[in-house]
């Protein structure tokens, strides 16, 4: 894992819902379950708050992978938000595929507040996948470059 990181440090944006996945990330922290430092978490109230444009924006700004984490189906704090997220992401992912962004660069995972170990495992696996895919240049915004 560490060796791969040295070659290329991918940037991963993780959107985590406040009630399950963000708490799962906290549990990973308090259990000292490591995952690569390139994973940066953005806290959202619910996975359904994640607008597909946030993910497009992340890719445009140089993210190499984007992961959306929410409560398990049936466990959403707001009853049904994760179902909306799931449907929206299914559509978005097929559009990203059309745009030529590898399917593996985006992922939806359900992580409960009790699943610190799962959070760490998912992030490690995802970071490894992104490392293997290398840099994402497809949606890069060239206007911002010098």
């Amino acid at each position: 894992m560490q060796e791969l990181n040295k070659e290329h440090k991918p940037l991963i944006v993780a959107f985590c819902c406040n009630w399950c996945s963000y708490a799962g990330a906290d549990l990973a922290g308090s259990s000292r379950l490591s995952y690569p430092a390139n994973v940066k978490i953005i806290r959202v109230p619910c996975s359904c708050r994640v607008n597909p444009t946030f993910i497009l924006k992340a890719f445009q700004k140089g993210a190499d992978g984007v992961i959306l984490c929410g409560c398990h189906p049936g466990d959403c704090h707001y009853t049904s938000g994760n179902y909306y997220a799931r449907r929206r992401m299914t559509l978005l992912f097929s559009m990203l595929d059309y745009l030529g962004i590898e399917r593996e660069r985006t992922r939806v995972e359900w992580v409960s507040a009790a699943e610190g170990a799962k959070f760490s495992k998912v992030m490690n696996e995802f970071a490894k996948t992104i490392c293997e895919l290398g840099e994402n240049k497809r949606l890069e915004d060239l206007r911002c470059k010098d």
Binding site: Y22, G29, K57, Y78, S112
Partner: protein, 663 residues
């Protein structure tokens, strides 16, 4: 122009050991809008908070970023600090540099760099924060207790004692739950009915308590302080107000083949019955599956005999709508189904029974009037073998991975009761471990071994089979390392307990979470053991995890204390992070209304000025901030981008994405 203060916490050495806190505060000081950046050992301590408060006043700060532990830990603390210094509490952002940085990364350089990025991200978001005001909503001073077992009864009595009205909704025809079925209770061996039934009567007589039996929760709307609950009162075909519980009908009923579920189906009962002598309410009920009148219209004896004309064959289910400020879930447990455990022969041999069935056999009010006899031929058994951990601590997938906690103690109790009443009976107990922590518990178990001569065998049972009239238990004795074949007249299985299956539907209705074993999840395993993660919902008894009676009663009272604390408030602060539509962009399409899980969005016709004295009336979305819980489903659904969420606005999240991806 925002004036931002950054406060980096060391958390003792929790953060400072892996993050260069001096560097973090120095680098963040250079960010635009940051006017002061400091670090301190414990930002959450009184001194740390004073540092924040004084800086707000001294530097006229309009916003605060704290780089510390998770916002789930201390966001509320720092918000209060801001508020007490005159700053709007929502002008605060927390960068989580402990759980997300120092605790999981070892390399100081890498950790420091990540901490700086997270700090920058928080600053970027804070630049777009606006002061928010949480609305207030009134608290309905009435509580709902779901489940009428000992947990629900205790919670209801305590809440009523404080002067608040409580409704108990129980799905079966009487309150009392599993405890009403028990014979004696450990570790004192006093009879369950003697200590439970007075409490049941207290509930019935308490003016503040309304008991709705044979009723289930149908719908739940609203939020803490303001729940609207639909309750289905199932048809019992007997008018509760008229029935006096005289029991004439039960004697006259000609259909007596229905299984008596109160006696664990060990005997039968009439189609019209009262669950047990001390049932509350003491009202008859008709089992429509067995009633001849309801099945084919021929009979009607009970209606003819009833002195108060209480029988009503046309009764229908009824939906009652009530409002509550708080809800206690006390749905209890049931023993697991033993269909996966054919090796013990439970479904094959009548004389293999579960512990709860054994309770009924030993109970003076049970099917055998308390005489120990085995079900097959009603003979008194001479050898009884108990098997513990049937489906508990089972990781094979057939049973449950957890310890059911109560079985070691009740099996010791059963063994003692048998040896006490029938001293010539041999009692064997197969166990994996004996777990008896608790006040006077281990002493109780030792009495079973030392004074009552119960034969404890450490080992597992492979098979129970029949040889002639008797059962043979084939097991291993791990201590003496030998295989045993024990001829037994009766075998009692300590089946694992699991949450009552009704809890799944109830958890969904209450939007609260369940763990992988269907136990309800508490808000914090150690510090919030009776609160659910959903505000206003509290957990009492085994629905939250395996417990015995003393623990259940303690938790039920703790729950009541929390409910009383909530109901004592006249008003509650609402969620400040609510959605709102930009009326100039809203097209009135209704999509947001459809996705809102709380029904917080309605449409209003509003008049807009167009200039030149002209006006137009348009249909626009209107969010009720008292009902909106701030999930944000509407914001993404909105096709025109009119809907946004305060505190998590599109611009704020975009700014976070930008800040993270900048380098």
């Amino acid at each position: 122009m925002q004036r931002i203060g950054v406060f980096v916490c060391w958390c003792g050495s929790n953060i400072s050991a892996t993050v260069d806190v001096e560097k973090v505060s120095a680098v963040l000081a250079l960010e635009p809008n940051v006017v002061i950046s400091q670090n301190y050992q414990y930002m959450c301590s009184e001194n740390g908070q004073a540092l924040i408060r004084n800086s707000i006043k001294e530097h006229n700060l309009t916003g605060v970023v704290v780089c510390s532990c998770s916002p789930r830990m201390h966001e509320a603390t720092f918000r209060r600090a801001c508020e007490s210094a005159g700053l709007n509490p929502y002008m605060l952002e927390v960068a989580n540099i402990r759980e997300q940085v120092s605790w999981i990364h070892k390399d100081i350089e890498e950790a420091t760099e990540k901490a700086i990025i997270l700090g920058r991200t928080a600053i970027a978001k804070l630049r777009l924060n606006t002061p928010l005001t949480a609305g207030e909503s009134p608290v309905i001073k009435r509580a709902l207790v779901i489940g009428g077992g000992i947990a629900g009864i205790q919670s209801a009595l305590d809440i009523a004692e404080a002067g608040y009205e409580v409704d108990i909704v129980e799905k079966s025809p009487t309150i009392g739950g599993n405890m009403a079925k028990l014979d004696k209770t450990f570790p004192t061996l006093d009879c369950a009915a003697c200590i439970l039934t007075p409490k049941m009567v207290d509930c019935a007589q308490n003016e503040k308590i309304d008991i709705l039996t044979f009723s289930e929760i149908e719908s739940v709307k609203g939020f803490v302080g303001n729940f609207k609950v639909g309750i289905r009162k199932k048809a019992r075909f007997v008018n509760e107000k008229l029935c006096t519980g005289c029991g004439v009908c039960t004697q006259k009923c000609p259909s007596k083949r229905g299984l008596n579920d109160f006696n664990m189906n060990l005997n039968t009962r009439p189609a019209i019955y009262i669950p047990f002598a001390q049932a509350i309410p003491n009202v008859a009920i008709i089992d429509p599956e067995q009633c001849l009148k309801l099945k084919n219209g021929k009979c009607g004896l009970c209606a003819m005999q009833c002195p108060t004309k209480a029988i009503d064959y046309t009764q229908q289910d009824e939906i009652v709508e009530r409002e509550y400020g708080a809800i206690v879930v006390a749905t209890g447990y049931k023993p697991i189904s033993l269909e996966n455990f054919n090796e013990y022969g439970y479904s094959t041999y009548k004389d293999v029974v579960t512990s709860l069935e054994f309770e009924r056999i030993m109970n003076a009010a049970g099917p055998t009037s308390g005489h120990l006899e085995r079900p097959s031929d009603h003979k008194q058994p001479k050898v009884i073998t108990f098997i513990q951990c049937v489906g508990s601590r089972d990781t094979s997938g057939c049973g449950k991975p957890y310890c059911s906690k109560i079985c070691c103690m009740y099996t010791a109790k059963h063994a003692m009761l048998v040896r006490e009443k029938y001293p010539d009976t041999q009692v064997n107990i197969f166990y994996i471990d004996v777990r008896t922590p608790g006040k006077n518990y281990d002493e109780f178990y030792r009495r079973a071994v030392e004074q009552y001569g119960v034969n404890y065998i450490k080992g597992m049972v492979g098979k129970v089979y029949k040889e002639g009239d008797n059962l043979v238990v084939q097991g291993s004795d791990l201590i003496n390392n030998e295989q045993l074949l024990i001829k037994s007249d009766m075998v009692v299985l300590a089946a694992a307990i699991e949450p009552d299956p009704s809890v799944r539907k109830i958890a969904t209705l209450l939007t609260t979470s369940i763990d992988t074993n269907n136990f309800l999840t508490e808000a914090h395993a150690k510090l919030k053991p009776v609160e659910s993660p959903t505000a206003g919902i509290f957990l009492s008894g085994v629905c939250q995890g395996p417990k015995d009676i003393p623990e259940t009663v303690s938790q039920a009272s703790a729950c009541a204390a929390k409910v009383i604390g909530l109901l004592a408030k006249d008003k509650l602060k609402c969620n400040a992070s609510t959605a709102g539509a930009d009326e100039m962009l809203c097209t009135g399409c209704s999509l947001c209304e459809n996705v809102c899980p709380y029904g917080a969005i309605t449409y209003i016709d509003k008049e807009f000025r167009l200039g030149g004295g002209r006006t137009e009336v348009r249909r626009v979305a209107s969010v009720n901030p008292a009902v909106c819980q701030g999930c944000g489903a509407c914001t993404v659904t909105c096709p025109s981008g009119a809907m946004d969420l305060k505190g998590f606005s599109t611009k704020q999240i975009m700014a976070e994405v930008d800040a993270i991806c900048k380098n």
